[in-house]
Symmetry: C3
Subunit: 303 residues, 3 copies
Amino acid sequence: MKKLRPLLLIIVCLFFALFVSAQHKIVVFQTDFGLKDGAVSAMKGVAMGVSTDLKLFDLTHEIPAYNIWEAAYRLQQTAQYWPAGTVFVSVVDPGVGSERKSVVLKTKSDHFFVTPDNGTLTLVAQSLGIDTIREIDESKNRLKNSNESYTFHGRDVYAYTGARLAAGVIAFEEVGPQLPNKVVAINYQQAVFENGIIKGNIPILDIQYGNVWTNIDKKTFDKLALNYGDSLHVVVFYNKQKMYEGVLPYTTTFSAVRIGNPLCYVNSLLNVSFALNQQNFSEKYKVYSGPEWNVEVSKYKHQ
Amino acid sequence: MKKLRPLLLIIVCLFFALFVSAQHKIVVFQTDFGLKDGAVSAMKGVAMGVSTDLKLFDLTHEIPAYNIWEAAYRLQQTAQYWPAGTVFVSVVDPGVGSERKSVVLKTKSDHFFVTPDNGTLTLVAQSLGIDTIREIDESKNRLKNSNESYTFHGRDVYAYTGARLAAGVIAFEEVGPQLPNKVVAINYQQAVFENGIIKGNIPILDIQYGNVWTNIDKKTFDKLALNYGDSLHVVVFYNKQKMYEGVLPYTTTFSAVRIGNPLCYVNSLLNVSFALNQQNFSEKYKVYSGPEWNVEVSKYKHQ
Amino acid sequence: MKKLRPLLLIIVCLFFALFVSAQHKIVVFQTDFGLKDGAVSAMKGVAMGVSTDLKLFDLTHEIPAYNIWEAAYRLQQTAQYWPAGTVFVSVVDPGVGSERKSVVLKTKSDHFFVTPDNGTLTLVAQSLGIDTIREIDESKNRLKNSNESYTFHGRDVYAYTGARLAAGVIAFEEVGPQLPNKVVAINYQQAVFENGIIKGNIPILDIQYGNVWTNIDKKTFDKLALNYGDSLHVVVFYNKQKMYEGVLPYTTTFSAVRIGNPLCYVNSLLNVSFALNQQNFSEKYKVYSGPEWNVEVSKYKHQ
């Protein structure tokens, strides 16, 4: 068998090559750049320049300009559905060029988030848990020859660093120095049950359909002990001001009520939500979303 | 050579690994979700969780909300250009949670369509032919831990099943039980020639330019025996009501007429179409598309 | 070692197979089709039909209809960030069916551009340099069975040829006959310094934020010898008509001025640009972009 040793070595190398090419190397991009210009494409070009083995995907590039809250929400909404090891590059960065830190968060779920630490990490830090945060060392992790440009960190720092991390060109430790396990967080009403009422927040709309999504999870909601067919008393506030009040049946399907009628359901993220069957709840009742939009719900008792 | 046998086995395995990685494993997604939120990204994350070897593409996510007809049209417009074996996942699903069936259609062209059977399959079933239809067995083909969620079958059932089928995790037979070779179909005017007149439907607009596309194919159109330079008498109806009448020259290029002038041409799908050179026919003449929009065309005879 | 030769041969073949699959095979698409219909998807399906090893990306499909200038700009903005060998397929083609030539430009940077030669190549030909131009020989490089269709060269000629070139199905020489090293070019004001004033053009807006980007590069701009904190005198013209005049501080960050205040900065392409901090300069001052929009800038001298 002696003569076979070099061959075996070669074969082991081949297996290794196959194995490496089977690592997933996924990068998911999110920005507020839109898709009308070349910014997102330039970011992807930089990533392909790092390694053509990377698999590049989009979360969304239609985050409203400068809306850090929505960026935070979209990451939380989707990260859990991507395999462990996925690298998210999120660039909603009204403070580009100012003192906010550029970081990579590794969560306990083994997802990576490359982003300015400006509130974008508020929700994934809570829901997925902080394993480690590192500040990006731009002296090492910055696209070559990009130093004269001050304003496109998304391409020169975030896409470049995210690609190098996903491709295994750098280990996580090589991102830069470790920071304390704390992110810049946006303040909002968490879901709490007290005296028969659940308080919560409206983090986002299901914008395509105008459905209203709260942050009240099913476990908290179950404390109201509603059965399908029961009704929910709903009050919506913008800061302290009442904006909507109504009584909604709790159903499993939109078609359980007539077209245009309101209903309450548990959405695909297992959060309590309000909708009109085949119409737009948000537009009809002027109910929108963000840290300032709060809700109180309780079981409706027939008189 | 005896000693080489294990080596040969290893090499055969390597070839097999290369071969498998060379299968195309293409999934093409279509929805009415838009790209502003995380829904499409969550579907793709689920698919990557099934197999990171998959190649994920988009048809469009801008189908107008609940517009099953347009979903049907877009599948027919594009499926023929994708390689055999491609798996399409189409989710326009106003009846989510109701009694419509979740199915996979295998066409005679060896394309697969994973979708609610709600009319979405109307046109590909006709043009590509039905080979087999199977109902998705959700007891086996549903994302783990998704049972408490009632409203995002696109992610939990359709993306998951389409990905497993494309990746070879399940064979087509494992989708679920076979159904009769019949899909839920939307009624519309097929292209017919009678007494010198062709009747047909306006299935869709070339929305970016405002061109009007009929379902009159070139073979049927040739029965009018028009030559380039001849003119066509066109009448458009919404249900039975006349909406437009005109005489259009039959040309091969838009620039054959002056800017803003109407023309008739055979489009890229070989269907008879109407346009204005560098302007918007649909907007100018208020001609739109759908099962209710019909057309009659005949050869224009100079008086 | 004799007996091992066939094995070695096999192993060399395997290495070769791995190597080939490691070539980058990138195609980047740009059109004015939008993403609401199936046109872009049909183009990608055709490319996948050529080779499923291709990696397909998008520059943008939101070029305003028929806007060749913007197509030219987006290519210049992004091509440099993609690896050498990348094949760009750009289809903004108001003259489809007329006499414009279908070409492939190979630049000195080793990027390839597959497009109608209608002005689309104006800027990359200048910035990346012309290596060779070939006219596409449609008798060889056209999707099979597409000859009856006259209007979708994007799919039948450009996507098909670009995919074959990127996949190595054809060598660059097989695209078709070589043409003189000259492209159809759109006329515009290049950046020039004269008597203390720089004249230039506004090729594009940073549309998502309303920032105004000029074509004045940093090297030319440095002739004004401005330091950060100095101010710039800016005049904007539409053809010869003055549309805006102002004095803007020259800063490295948007947050150096108050929200809503104007500033001048060097953008991510190292071009002089104008913006309002967190507001829309273009909308507020009705300043837009294109070959007709010119600018004169000089150092502002306090009285």
